[in-house]
Symmetry: none
Subunit: 156 residues, 2 copies
């Protein structure tokens, strides 16, 4: 088991019990997991970024802290943000997978839908002789098309 995963899980468990917000001490947490304090920052950066649906704030010095807030946006708000702002004209396979995985985490799409989306934008699915740049352009369009479909469905 990866350390990062353990820390991620620990924080998510904290967030699950009560409230959308948790406050913690970087050094204590690092101590608890027996790792470098900066490891905590790594976990925050890779698993609790705004893209993942979290905001973090912190304070240094005596009595310092890190606060993690789970952003509660409605599914369609989130989808519209992705379609209109986040996704541009081009999206790599990795970016697609990350996005889909985040939507799944946030329970905006089901695991089955996520799998379907992954399948459609995978390299395997697009394995024809076309320049990567064009494939990435297609991925962006495909993602938008699918997300709008889901948004439409969700209004019901």
């Amino acid at each position: 088991m990866r350390l990062s995963d353990s820390i991620e899980q620990f924080i998510k468990d904290l967030l699950k019990e009560e409230s959308t917000e948790v406050e913690l001490k970087r050094n204590e947490l690092a101590e608890y997991f027996g790792c470098a304090p900066s490891q905590i920052n790594y976990v925050l950066a890779t698993r609790f970024s705004p893209d993942h649906g979290y905001l973090t704030e912190s304070r240094r010095g005596g009595g310092g802290y890190i606060r993690i807030v789970r952003v509660v946006r409605s599914g369609s708000q989130r989808l519209m943000y992705l379609v209109n702002d986040r996704i541009g004209d081009s999206l790599s396979e990795e970016e697609c997978l990350r996005l889909v995985s985040q939507l799944k985490d946030q329970q905006i799409v089901t695991a089955d839908e996520a799998a379907l989306m992954d399948a459609s934008v995978s390299a395997r699915a697009l394995g024809v002789p076309v320049p990567d740049a064009l494939k990435d352009a297609m991925r962006a369009k495909m993602m938008k098309s699918m997300l709008m479909t889901i948004a439409a469905r969700n209004r019901a």
Copy 2:
């Protein structure tokens, strides 16, 4: 006995003992068989490809892994027929839509899934300057990829 065949058998034995899914470490497996790690990739490519009825995913870096999912023998007959025989190398948008609609009628996929599939293969989604022939080739691959994914889930 070929090394590749031994590795293939080993993995298939793992898959035979319950569960349609197995996770392994590339380096450990290579160590066990006393071969180059890339040999594992060769086996995956030549014996566990989607054409053979398997899906694979992996992760690099510390704590990395390779996961193999068996689809054949678990997916619905109908889906595998489509993937293996019915869908060739090329599929027009109209053909896609017709196919998806049939699957929905036959309740093999849900309405939501059907909508997603439609969205991904639509002209809107693939609207980049690429010859139609190539788009149709992509559609065929995308459909196969998505159907495999559904088959993997439908362990029925």
